[in-house]
Subunit: 480 residues, 2 copies
């Protein structure tokens, strides 16, 4: 019991210091190691196994919607980055520059890709000639680099891992449809695989991607009431196509510019999983992406028959879920705390008395419920229980978001007061002027998260900031 | 027929110009695109699908042997690269240097990783404390950069994709065992998945990896008689551990240095697939990694019932192999040539007469054999035929290697003559002196590929170069 206590003590309580709680969990659960390279992280086996499960699940969704994977170069020549004006302005200040190859100075600097629109466009210009070549539905899994001042594991790192989809279409309509389709893929993935409820919406002009005509986003609410942008999907129109001279012969035999999208989700999402579901005992992982879904812990394992039975259950469950057994010398109490910290969705205890009764005890990580399961029903009950954990996690997160989302219908003073006293999503009307966004950021410390697709009835007909006529409802909040 | 002829004409014949044949195949089969970045390639969907299948197959072999995936940073600070003397001497001349972040000059240059021994060691120093922390069996999938002067798709590019395994062990014996185990994993993969026979052996000191005590290799013979190093596995002893101050408390309670290995296989292997199996009609892909294993081509598809039946077969086969159907407007002849060029292992033709007879015609890509298959037996015959294609490809490659491997038992003049007249692997005895290796490289244009593990009886007791006492048999050749 001393050991168990110590383990839990090592994690700072959320309510005491949320940022420290996050750092503790990331470290104690062995998700990452800080590296010797400023702002870059090492993703350790347990953290990487989560990312692999995310990749597998998302990649299948991309393939099911007709996308193909490719690999683009790591480097972008400076002249290529500069071809689209807004894009280079957005990214040039935060890229790493390669200026030497071996001992030679380069005649043209290469930046390490911060995102790959320019590389995809360079390729598309060579392979798109006719409407028959469209659509091009490409994706790549890679890491990108942005020269950040301050960094935090998963949430903001100089190098991060992601996928970036880049597509080209015959018409604007098709490209917009794709932008929406991929936002829905992200939202479904978050809700179905990660048990994270998200709000879908459009970014304001101030917050949209450098070079995009429109950016769509999914926004999730973390335990501390801060927002986390969890995936974005951009519509570019034909701006890049014109800058990169990508043309195709259309069905009517005229030369046309294709319409473009891009969309990405990154290792940031692991930060969202931690901060949506975690508690003071550590991680709580959604079953769909948990590296270990069930951990078998033999009780009184020195007693005859216990390990044999535990092994038998291990073999049985191997075909239906990701299962492991810990038969090490540590005490059961230590093991309980360890796998709670690592967020394993189900713990399965099996001891002499259980064996006598042809049963085992399954404990849910999300609500600590203990369920006695007959060994005859194990193979049907475990998948059900994993689904129950998922559903419980989703409902809990949704309830929290509801309780932390509120409307402000008054004026500037009201939203400043609300932002400083009640963490969460603030719904308030907006006139559409970027000056009001800037003022709210400065005075209330909040930014526009999105203009939600679901607008229903207007909250107010006046902008919460300037009092002029409101054009839309915006979700405001503090953000990671 | 005109179209078909044209397609095939676009590929230069192997015998006319092997290098041009390779370039044509890589381009016409749409495996890569040359990028706007010097020496960097774009891997297109069909090429990347091959790489994905390679990854999936190899990754499972790594996991089955107890390895875990991680992600290390892209950058190595100059001081970290310099910690192991031989290693930095080997790699520093060919790395890309990042000297600026945003608009600021860096106080310390970062190199883009050419390989990650130093990063893994930096991490291992922080996480290895006790013998209980060993072994560490890590792997990562990533791209690395080496500043090459001249480049060719897959074979030698500035950026290439690979996996790099990095492991740490309690004893030298365990580390050597791991080095051998992983070489065997590579050899099995080449033979079982890629149908490429390989020779296992050890590199000479001159050819071994910078910083390694021993490098093991698998060497394959290409169609033109040149060798391709297809995978390597290195034993480092405790050299890096000492340089990076990685220590652990052993079972006897003393402080010890762990023993290290690394091993890698890269996108080069796609070059080996192309040059081992390809022919004048294009690619010939091993079934295990072919993106499309069976291509269904409806014959006289406008006739009633043909497309329905073809679709029925497509659905049937979807559960047992990677299958597609081409019901486009192109002629069957065009389609035959197209999928031959793309190396699809089996073509399935189904037309009105076949339907009448409840059969289809299956054509093997490797030997063009036509097999009539009853539709009732399709689901059992297709997997068999895929296996037959694999076996046929392996045997053909093995026969070719045998016919192109020969012994030279005489002296320097004999091996110079042999090297200039007969392409292939040359087996000849060697005294162990690096000067003889250098002389053979200069005068015969060949390098030592490996000292094969399988040494059987000595070929000669005299070194083929200097005539002094021979210590070992070496396989010599020209190499990619």
């Amino acid at each position: 019991m001393a050991k168990q206590k110590k383990l839990v003590e090592e994690i700072t309580s959320m309510d005491v210091d949320f940022a420290q709680w996050y750092t503790d969990v990331v470290k104690k659960a062995e998700l990452v190691d800080y590296s010797g390279v400023r702002g870059c992280m090492v993703i350790r086996p347990y953290g990487y196994a989560i990312w692999e499960n995310i990749q597998k699940n998302l990649d299948q969704r991309f393939k099911d919607t007709g996308h193909e994977n490719v690999a683009m170069p790591l480097f972008i020549p400076e002249s290529l980055l500069q071809k689209e004006k807004d894009h280079v302005e957005g990214f040039a200040p935060e890229v790493a520059w390669v200026t030497m190859g071996g001992s030679e100075e380069l005649t043209e600097r290469l930046c390490v890709r911060p995102t790959s629109e320019t590389l995809f466009c360079d390729h598309y210009a060579r392979v798109i000639h006719s409407y028959r070549d469209l659509p091009k539905l490409y994706n790549q899994w890679c890491s990108v680099v942005r020269w950040e001042k301050s960094t935090r594991p998963f949430l903001r790192t100089m190098e991060f891992w992601w996928q970036e989809g880049h597509t080209m279409h015959e018409t604007a309509e098709e490209a917009i449809e794709e932008t929406e389709r991929m936002l829905n893929v992200y939202a479904d993935f978050c809700e179905q695989a990660l048990a994270i409820p998200v709000i879908k919406g459009q970014k304001t002009d101030k917050e949209k991607f450098a070079g995009a005509e429109a950016t769509y986003t999914i926004e999730a609410l973390m335990h501390d009431g801060k927002a986390l942008q969890s995936g974005t999907s951009h519509y570019f129109g034909d701006g890049f196509a014109k800058a990169f001279d990508i043309t195709f012969t259309g069905r009517d035999n005229t030369l046309q510019y294709p319409h473009q999208t891009s969309w990405g989700m990154s290792t940031r999402i692991i930060g969202a999983i931690i901060m949506t579901h975690g508690d003071d005992s550590g991680l709580v992982l959604p079953p769909a992406i948990a590296p270990i879904q069930v951990m078998i812990i033999p009780i009184a394992q020195h007693k005859p028959g216990v390990l044999d039975k535990a092994n038998e259950l291990l073999l049985k469950l191997k075909n239906i879920c990701r299962v492991k057994m810990d038969d090490s010398d540590q005490s059961p109490g230590w093991k309980f705390a360890e796998y709670e910290m690592k967020g394993v969705p189900l713990r399965l205890e099996i001891g002499p008395k259980d064996i006598e009764n042809n049963q085992c005890v399954v404990v849910r990580r999300d609500n600590r419920e203990k369920i006695v399961v007959s060994l005859d029903e194990l193979e049907t009950r475990i998948p059900q229980l994993l689904q129950d954990v998922h559903d419980g996690m989703y409902q809990k997160a949704l309830d929290r978001r509801k309780s932390m989302t509120y409307e402000v219908t008054g004026g500037l003073d009201d939203i400043i007061k609300a932002a400083s006293t009640r963490p969460g999503f603030i719904k308030a009307a907006w006139c559409g002027d970027v000056k009001c966004e800037e003022q709210l950021k400065e005075q209330a410390g909040i930014t526009s998260r999105c203009m939600p697709f679901d607008q229903k009835e207007p909250i107010s007909d006046k902008c919460v900031c300037c009092g002029k006529e409101a054009k839309t409802t915006v979700i405001w909040g503090k953000a990671y």
